[in-house]
Symmetry: C2
Subunit: 454 residues, 2 copies
C-alpha cells in the first residue's frame, strides 16, 4: 500500500496539469461575455469531484453563476467538514502589464503565473487533490466531506449566500474550511482566527432647495458639505477615537495571548505597514498596538464626498445636497445591524440643525472569531506544524470574508481559514502567481488536516 | 432749443432700434466659434461712440477680445467720469427653453427679450443714449467722459484688467460709473455701496503613498478625507463663526445708518432669502442681522471635496490624496492677500499631524466700499430721486464685481454702481429680458447724473 506522501509526490505532474486546465478557462465573473467560461469552469470542478469519487455531484443553477456541490458521507461517527472554494476570477486589465498571457498558465521561477493561480483556483484545486490522494490511498476519506464551490466570489457572492441561508440542512457540518487566504511568509504558516465585519453607509445632508451662489447667499445658506465635515469630524477625532455612544461597550477584550502577540509584533507587521504606506508613523489610536488597531478595534473611514464642484477652476457653488460614503470595520463582537443603529443615531446627533440628514445602510457583514482552542483549528495547526516544521502563528485580518461569517452565522460551525498564498502573489493585479512549493505543501497539509479531524 | 427730456422721448424708437441691432450680434465670449461676432459687436459699439461725437474712438486689440475706447475731454474744470460696460454675453443653452430665438430681440409685455438685453448691452446702450442726448441738446457734455467697454466680462475679464493696470494715465478719472447691476424692484431705485472680495483656494491633504484598502489599513492609515473634514470643521463652526486668528481684527464696524438698515430690513430681503432657499430659518451667525451676514461679514464656504470614491456602490478605499475647494467672501476692509496668509496658516494649524497639507491660492479679488457721502454717489442718488420720485436705498452685494475693485484700486476713484435691471431679468438664463420702461428711465437718469456731476 502506497503512503499518502508517496502518492502525492508521484502525481505532482498531473496535479499541476489539472490545475492548468482549470486556469485556462477565463472565468471572469463580472464580465457578461464570459458567461460560457463560467459554466465551463463550473463543469470542470464538478468533473474533478466526480473523479475523486464524491457523490451527488451537481452543478447548481442560481440567479447568478452556478454553484458546484459534491459530498462523501460514509465516515460514520466522524465529523463533517464543509469545504469552500471559488472558481471565478478577477478581470485582467491592464492586460499589457502581464509578462505572459493572463490565461496561459506559465511556470517561471518555481511559480505558476496565471489569473486565478492563487485566487482561488490554485488553492481550491489543492484541496481537491488532497481529497483525491486520501481517497486513492485509503479507499475512503477520514471525515465526512461536503464541497461547495461558488462562481461569484469576485462579484458579490449573492448566490451562495442565498443557497446557504435556504439549505442549512444540506450543508450541516462540524467545521467549515476555507482555503482562500495567505501566509505572512513561505516559512511561516498561519491560521486566521479573526475577521472584522463591516457596515457601509451613505450619509446625505440636504440644505437649501437648490444650489446657491456663495456671493449672494454665503453667510445665511446651509452648506451640506460643511455639515458633512462637521459630522465626520465629530464621529472620529484626529486621534482615531470614534465618538459613537455605546460602540465600545460591547467590545470583548482580547485574550492575553493575543494581546501579547499584538504588543510584541514578532512578524514586524507594523514596520511593513509603515513601509507600504510610506509614512514615518502610523495613524490612529496610539494607546493600542498597531495590530490591535487593524485586527480588533472598530474603525471608521470616509471613502468619498460628493456634491458641489470638484472640476478644474473656481465655481462658488453652495450645493443643495452632499453625500459622504462612510464605512466602519467591526470586530466580531459588534453586530453590523446594531452598530448601524448606533451610527445612524450618532450621525443625526452630530448634524448641524440647518441640514436634513439621512443615513443609508448600503451593506453590512459580520466579523468572525475562531478560537485557537477549537478542535478544527487545533487539527489545522498540527497539520501545518507537520508540513512546515514549525508552529503556525494565529493572526487576524482587518478585512472581511463574508462567506466565513455566513458559515459561522447559519451553520454554527467553527471556521478554519487556512490558505497557502504568499504576500507577493499579485492578487487582483497583473502577473498573479502561485508558488508550486506552496501548492504541493498545501495538498499534504490539507490531507493531514482532514486525517487529524478524523 | 429742445429740452433733454423732449429729445429722449422723441428718439425712443431709434434708441430701441440701435439696441436691437446690437442684440442681434451673438457675441458669446466663451465660445470660439463666435470670434467674428465678438469683433462685430465691438465695432458696433465703436460706431455708436463715433456717432455720439466722442473722440479718439478705438477698438483696442488685446490678448483676448478687444476693448472699445472713446473720450470727450472738453469740459474744462469739470470732473472726468470713466464709464464701463460690456458687449459680450453668456451662452444660450438650453436653447429649447427660450420662448423667442435668443438672438432675435422681441418685445413682449413691455420688455425686450434677447440674450444680453439686461446683461449688459441694454444697460451699456442706455448710457450711450444718455451721452447722445446730452451732446445733441447741448452740443457738449457736462463732464469729461472716458468710455471703456470690454468683451470678456463673462469670460474672466483678463484683458481689461491688464489694460487698466498698464494704462492708468489714459484712464485717469474722478469717478467710475458701472451700469451692470439691478434694483430690488421697479419702483425702488438703489445704489450699491459695497461689494465683498474673495479668496478662492484649494486645500490638498496627502496621507499614504498610495490608495489603501480600509480592511487592511483601517486603524493605522492616515485618511486625507477625514483630515479635510477636521480642517473644515475647525475653520468654521456650526454657528457660522470662522476660526482664523486675526481675521475679524481688521473689520471696520458699519455706519449707524447701515446697521439700522440691516436690522430693520425694510425690503424684507431676509424673507426673500428664506423663500428662495426653501428654508425655515437662515443659517450663520445669528447675532448679526442677515443683511450684515451676506453683505458685510466674512464667510467661508467649501464648494467641493475630491478624492476617494463617489460612484455607485461601495468601494472601501482610503485615498492617498484629497482636495477641498474652499472660498472666503471678504468685506472691503479685508485684503485678499492678507486673508490668504491668515487662511493658509489656520489650515496648517488645523491639520492633523498625519497628513501633509498644501494650500493653493486659485484667485483673489478685493471688495469695494463707496461712501454714500461722496460727490459721485450723491449725484447718482439725486438723479435717481428725480426720475423715480423717491430716495434710492443704499445696498451692498455679497458677491464680487472685480472691475469695480480694480477701478478703485488702480484709479483711486469712487465707483458708482447704478444699474436698472430687475430681479426677474433672467440673467445667464433662458428668456433674458430688459424692461423698456427701465431702459428709457435709465437714459434719463444717467443723463441727469452726468449733469449733476458737472
Amino acid at each position: 500500500m502506497v503512503t499518502l506522501t508517496a502518492y502525492i509526490t508521484e502525481h505532482e505532474d498531473r496535479f499541476l496539469e489539472d490545475l492548468k486546465g482549470w486556469l485556462r478557462i477565463p472565468s471572469i465573473s463580472t464580465l457578461p461575455e464570459h458567461a460560457s467560461d463560467i459554466r465551463h469552469a463550473a463543469e470542470y470542478a464538478a468533473q474533478q469531484l466526480r473523479d475523486i469519487g464524491l457523490e451527488r455531484v451537481e452543478v447548481i443553477q442560481t440567479q447568478g453563476h452556478p454553484l458546484v456541490y459534491g459530498e462523501w458521507l460514509h465516515a460514520a461517527g466522524k465529523p463533517t467538514v464543509l469545504i469552500y472554494g471559488h472558481y471565478d476570477v478577477q478581470p485582467v486589465d491592464p492586460v499589457e502589464l502581464w509578462e505572459s498571457p493572463p490565461f496561459e498558465p506559465t511556470v517561471r521561477n518555481g511559480s505558476i503565473y496565471c489569473r486565478g493561480a492563487a485566487d482561488d483556483k490554485g488553492q481550491t484545486m489543492l484541496v481537491f487533490k488532497a481529497l483525491e490522494a486520501l481517497m486513492a490511498v485509503d479507499g475512503r476519506l477520514p471525515v465526512n466531506v461536503r464541497v461547495l464551490i461558488e462562481g461569484e466570489e469576485e462579484a458579490g457572492g449573492e448566490s451562495i449566500e442565498a443557497y446557504v441561508r435556504n439549505n442549512p440542512q444540506r450543508l450541516q457540518c462540524d467545521a467549515a474550511f476555507i482555503c482562500d487566504t495567505h501566509m505572512p511568509a513561505e516559512d511561516l504558516p498561519a491560521l486566521i482566527t479573526g475577521l472584522r465585519g463591516i457596515i457601509y453607509t451613505e450619509v446625505e445632508a440636504r440644505g437649501a432647495r437648490r444650489d446657491l451662489h456663495s456671493g449672494t447667499y454665503g453667510g445665511v445658506a446651509p452648506n451640506p458639505l460643511h455639515a458633512l465635515a462637521i459630522i465626520i469630524s465629530r464621529l472620529k477625532d484626529a486621534d482615531g477615537h470614534i465618538h459613537i455612544p455605546g460602540l465600545y461597550d460591547r467590545l470583548r477584550p482580547p485574550t492575553p495571548e493575543e494581546k501579547a502577540f499584538w504588543q510584541q509584533d514578532p512578524l514586524h507587521i507594523a514596520r511593513s505597514l509603515r513601509e507600504e504606506m510610506g509614512v514615518a508613523q502610523l495613524s490612529g489610536e496610539e494607546e493600542y498596538p498597531p495590530l490591535e488597531r487593524i485586527w480588533a478595534r472598530p474603525t471608521l473611514e470616509v471613502h468619498g464626498i460628493a456634491g458641489g464642484f470638484t472640476g478644474e477652476g473656481a465655481k462658488t457653488v453652495i450645493p443643495a445636497v452632499a453625500t459622504a460614503k462612510i464605512s466602519m470595520r467591526l470586530p466580531p463582537d459588534l453586530k453590523s445591524s446594531e452598530v448601524f443603529t448606533l451610527f445612524e443615531r450618532a450621525v443625526k446627533q452630530a448634524a448641524p440643525p440647518d441640514v436634513t440628514v439621512t443615513v443609508r445602510n448600503v451593506h453590512g457583514g459580520e466579523g468572525m472569531l475562531a478560537s485557537p482552542e477549537s478542535a478544527p483549528v487545533r487539527a489545522a495547526a498540527a497539520a501545518l506544524k507537520e508540513t512546515y516544521g514549525r508552529e503556525p502563528v494565529f493572526i487576524r485580518e482587518g478585512g472581511s470574508i463574508p462567506i466565513a461569517a455566513l458559515f459561522s452565522e447559519i451553520l454554527h460551525a467553527p471556521v478554519v481559514l487556512m490558505g497557502f498564498g504568499l504576500p507577493d502573489d499579485n492578487l487582483h493585479a497583473p502577473n498573479e502567481k502561485y508558488s508550486l512549493a506552496q501548492y504541493f505543501k498545501g495538498i499534504r497539509t490539507v490531507a493531514s488536516f482532514l486525517q487529524k479531524m478524523g
